[in-house]
């Protein structure tokens, strides 16, 4: 009954102009703001809804639904296929951890390219979230002697070992601290995410990250429609606009559904281990408890949840 009663003024709105005042004013203001925004930023493509969208963490459920609907429509128009944008929440009682076996990685870069495909990174200009460093066995883990552009006929090369570097999902992420607008933060399951619609592209986070794990869309990202992975997450692999920062999210669109990240699935040597740090039986915990483990740049106290270990 109450539903019907409240609906009455809305129905009458079409007839009486006085009752429409509020709606009309809002529409006018929205259009005006959008026009000003267009004039100021020079971004003709930004819709008023997009311009007025708040930080993802401040959105109500209805607003999230609206945002998702808008994004899915935009992607449909752009790629001519259905792209699903999920907003899957962290699983309670789960903190993700990752371990990489330096004694097994052969530097084949399968992970790099599987990641690009899974996470809709721009192909041109090229963005890759994983960098594989070729290191000198004589020098050990010394970034002064790292080479990322190696391209021999066969890997592993004599006298070298390989060290893939991606976002370390730090417990104390310096990148989120410096963001002036709060567009990047650490989720409850330990994944550091970016709200691409709230990011202003100042790149402070990139300067703060000691691992070079964040990447900026300098140009309009380009992916062939056929290559777009249509299973996406708002905070993860949905296609990004120009002028925002992006990074590894442990494949949030996969891992929050229980799947392994794409890099774990593809690795031909089984060097990559992933699981729940709070589950003592998980592969990651077994690894941390029984192997020699280290963190990259531990002295910076970023406290990564990404570990390197020696399986042999």
């Amino acid at each position: 009954m109450t539903d019907q009663e409240t609906r009455v003024p809305a129905q009458g709105c079409e007839d009486t102009s006085a009752a429409c005042g509020a709606g009309g004013r809002r529409e006018f203001l929205g259009a005006a703001v959008a026009a000003v925004a267009t004039a100021l930023t020079g971004c003709g493509k930004v819709s008023s809804e997009e311009f007025l969208q708040h930080n993802f963490r401040e959105l109500s459920k209805d607003e999230v639904a609206q945002v998702i609907a808008r994004l899915e429509k935009e992607y449909k128009d752009k790629f001519k296929k259905d792209v699903k944008v999920a907003t899957t929440e962290p699983i309670p009682g789960v903190i993700f951890g990752y371990a990489l076996d330096l004694s097994r990685c052969i530097g084949c870069r399968s992970c790099v390219h599987a990641c690009v495909k899974e996470n809709n990174q721009s192909r041109k200009p090229e963005i890759q979230w994983i960098r594989v460093l070729e290191m000198d066995k004589e020098e050990g883990v010394d970034l002064q002697h790292a080479e990322q552009y190696y391209n021999p006929d066969e890997v592993p090369r004599e006298g070298h070992f390989y060290m893939p570097v991606q976002c370390q999902q730090c417990k104390k992420p310096p990148c989120t601290k410096v963001c002036p607008v709060g567009a990047t933060w650490k989720e409850k399951d330990g994944i550091v995410v970016v709200d691409y619609n709230w990011c202003i592209g100042c790149r402070y986070c990139m300067a703060a990250c000691p691992y070079g794990a964040r990447h900026f869309n300098w140009g309009e990202p380009h992916i062939d429609a056929a290559d777009v992975n249509p299973v996406t997450h708002y905070l993860g692999n949905r296609p990004r606009p120009k002028g925002v920062v992006e990074k590894c999210t442990f494949c949030v669109q996969r891992t929050r559904k229980g799947l392994y990240p794409a890099c774990v699935e593809i690795c031909p040597t089984g060097s990559r281990k992933f699981g729940n740090l709070l589950d003592p039986k998980s592969e990651i915990r077994q690894t941390l408890e029984t192997k020699r483990v280290f963190k990259l740049k531990e002295d910076l106290n970023t406290q990564p949840t990404f570990f390197y270990f020696y399986g042999v």
Binding site: L259, T269, Q286
Partner: protein, 193 residues
């Protein structure tokens, strides 16, 4: 490479067994009762389900030729000239040869050092005789590759899916293309804001 989706029975089987024990109210007799229950519930002796071993096409069952009639048993250690010439054995000491691992009297099985027969699907037991530390790591997921779900059904690989048992060293491979060098990036008009 043949793979089939299998349950993480390694972890699930003992839990199931325990549940059974508790359900029947014999909680005090934990370990002795749990083991047979786990054995019954799982198709392989230990409850680890694994994908089909990577046989060369048409080679299994071995008894199709090695039936004791068409091919007579010859236990003399020798270089093979007529069949299996593609197999180069570079695994372990030089004295090692076929019948150290393949059962002489039942070619469809492998055999342990103790003489116990082992299915090809449980070949990890054979490998684990020498590589015990690797087997231990494999069981808990540190060594080897698992795919599927980190919190659910997983797909395991046998040792032999990655390591050819006759030449176990992991084969080198061509790396995928490297990232573009900064100096090679072409600036397009309007490319940067």
């Amino acid at each position: 490479m043949n793979r089939s989706l299998i349950r993480s029975s390694l972890r699930a089987a003992p839990i199931l067994a325990l549940l059974l024990v508790f359900a029947t109210g014999k909680a005090s007799a934990e370990t002795p009762a749990a083991k047979p229950a786990a054995k019954q519930a799982a198709p392989t002796p230990e409850g680890i389900q694994v994908p089909k071993p990577p046989f060369t096409e048409g080679i299994f069952p071995c008894t199709a030729c090695h039936d004791g009639k068409a091919v007579k048993l010859n236990t003399k250690q020798r270089e093979l000239k007529d069949m299996h010439t593609d197999i180069e054995l570079t695994h372990g000491p030089e004295s090692r040869w076929c019948l150290d691992c393949h059962d002489a009297n039942d070619r469809d099985h492998l055999k342990l050092a103790s003489g116990e027969k082992v299915e090809f699907t449980a070949s990890y037991k054979l490998c684990g005789q020498c590589h015990g530390d690797k087997l231990r790591d494999w069981r808990v997921g540190i060594h080897g590759k698992r795919t599927g779900m980190w919190n659910g059904p997983k797909q395991y690989l046998l040792c032999v899916h990655c390591h050819n048992p006759h030449q176990p060293h992991f084969k080198p491979m061509k790396p995928l293309p490297p990232p573009t060098r900064p100096e090679a990036i072409q600036v397009t008009k309007g490319g940067a804001r």
